[in-house]
Symmetry: C2
Subunit: 384 residues, 2 copies
Amino acid sequence: MERIGALAEITEEPGRITRTFASLAMRRANQLVGAWMREAGLTVREDAAFNLLGRWESKKRGAKTFLLGSHLDTVRDAGKYDGPLGVLTAIVAVQSLRERGVELPFHVEVVGFSDEEGVRYQTTYLGSRAFAGTLTTADVARIQEKQIVKARRNKNEFLGYAEVHIEQGPVLEKNNLPVGVVTAIAGQSRLRVEFQGVAGHAGTVPMNLRRDALAGAAEFILAVEALAKKSNLVATVGKIEAAPGASNVISGHTRLTLDVRDQNDARRIAAVKTLQRKAKVVSERRALKLIWTLVQQTAAVHCDKKLTQIFSQCVAQRGLEVLKLPSGAGHDAVALSAICPVAMLFVRCKGGISHNPAESVKIADAQVAVEVLADFILRLGRSA
Amino acid sequence: MERIGALAEITEEPGRITRTFASLAMRRANQLVGAWMREAGLTVREDAAFNLLGRWESKKRGAKTFLLGSHLDTVRDAGKYDGPLGVLTAIVAVQSLRERGVELPFHVEVVGFSDEEGVRYQTTYLGSRAFAGTLTTADVARIQEKQIVKARRNKNEFLGYAEVHIEQGPVLEKNNLPVGVVTAIAGQSRLRVEFQGVAGHAGTVPMNLRRDALAGAAEFILAVEALAKKSNLVATVGKIEAAPGASNVISGHTRLTLDVRDQNDARRIAAVKTLQRKAKVVSERRALKLIWTLVQQTAAVHCDKKLTQIFSQCVAQRGLEVLKLPSGAGHDAVALSAICPVAMLFVRCKGGISHNPAESVKIADAQVAVEVLADFILRLGRSA
């Protein structure tokens, strides 16, 4: 926790925590965390994508590598825990195993990825995708640091990847549990939905002659909420713009964003289709024009059954209820899933708040995460 | 119509029509319209509030004055008709009466008010309120041209005020009529409504744990629409801001504007109360905090029965159906009602569009307005 505090001091914006890809703040963060890695007995280097790597070599011949980690970059005006908690718990877990004289049949590499949030270039998982070799030419085209493609690693090296991360949601808190085992990282559909009506004077156009784009949007927002509840997934309208946007003018054009997520891709895609149908019905009834644009779509990533089972055993071993939950947010594990099996452990965070200075994790919960992660590596070593 | 076109060329923003209070464009507009007033035989002057006055003196001793007019300022990127149509039809009507050798038992003063839209200082009816002597100290405090208080006229001078204006709504067009007689100018309640919930991650907060301010706002927007339809008045949510306003964040705070208008003040006030109750119910059910702020409230202005009856007779005399309708928009007649009886004649405009370059009025409809207004003055002269 002291380390979390020290790391939070490193920022590119005085007075708030902001560390973006390839910034001076990220270089300094890597130096500091690298020093802690060395203290834990790891061999430290930075790769071509500015990912920080701390390696613990196994004595076993022909051993493969198990990856632990998370990211060290942040959003603007971030909290202290989103990212760093996963890197620092991994360092402490590894250090405790080394101090106990544990020898493993695989190498362990602790990674502090350089760009998960994608703040600088709007390129989510930039560091971990460079590592996994899954950057697209479009990604490389939009960044200055073209050399990051050299960070690509050989997928045959790796046994798997495990990541500790704050939940960023309220489920563990509601269930009064310090940690939870992640089953899958939700797939996501991002859409832009626009209703075009006719702008008009708020005082002179009778209600029955209106084609109010904002009223249509309001009906759609409630349909989104109702369908999400019914289908047991999450769907959100987070942004809305009603043009022209004056108190005395009926909106002629309203745009909004739609974000639908679920661990079940088929269910998510069916929900989006149903919502498109609802939007059409609303638009036709109100004589509005509907513009429906799919912005992005990513499939769900399922955590590895064996690794997840080991996490569950480690949690149960501490006398804790094993709560399995999907992750609605994306993580570096999504990028790593392209090259090896992945697993995640969530840590309770206060009020489910993240991407905010109010992010808060209890010391005792971080301690549980460290111990579960150390047990996880031990069990994995035994089972290998 | 040529004059309307010539006046539309005078603007402070090249490529679009914008004439704000005390601008060079307004000075030039007054010069041009003043020249047309002189052509009509009127004695022209500009008062301390930059209102343009064209006077036709009656020979009758102790005669009072009847006012005709509208405004010459515009919104930004305006149409050609909102305001100027009323001033120019008055000039032509007066000119035709003078050419016919008509003598009236009252003076006629045609007024081009200098600031009805209030674009420059957000001071609606600035010119006509200076004229009527109803500026508040707050109004005077926010403007540079303090001398406008000197434009105040003695209310005992005036017999009444009649204004021709485009409808700014679709009712006349729907009824296939060139003009309509205004019964009242609607009272208005303007409110700011805010819902405070809890911002959260769109992927990680389950639907049943959300306190989504935008979803609450959507429910309220539909309640506004439903109540307006049921109560036979107009109510509009034209502006909405959902904060923080990101596609992947549940809105923690949504503000919107509410505009309620009706010619019946009691009905309007009852509707606002009902909507406040609805907003409370929505907020309580969703565990949101409601902030309800009355921004402005103006009472309805009823047009004078006698003057309105004369307008109706003049319309009927032309073989036209007399459609009586309220005005949902405000007009200089509101300010003038403080010092004398007022009446208004609406002219059909294409699609009910106003405050937009697409404003359009047929030549034939403007002609009807001129003739009805001339008849109105004649009949008024006979009845006086």
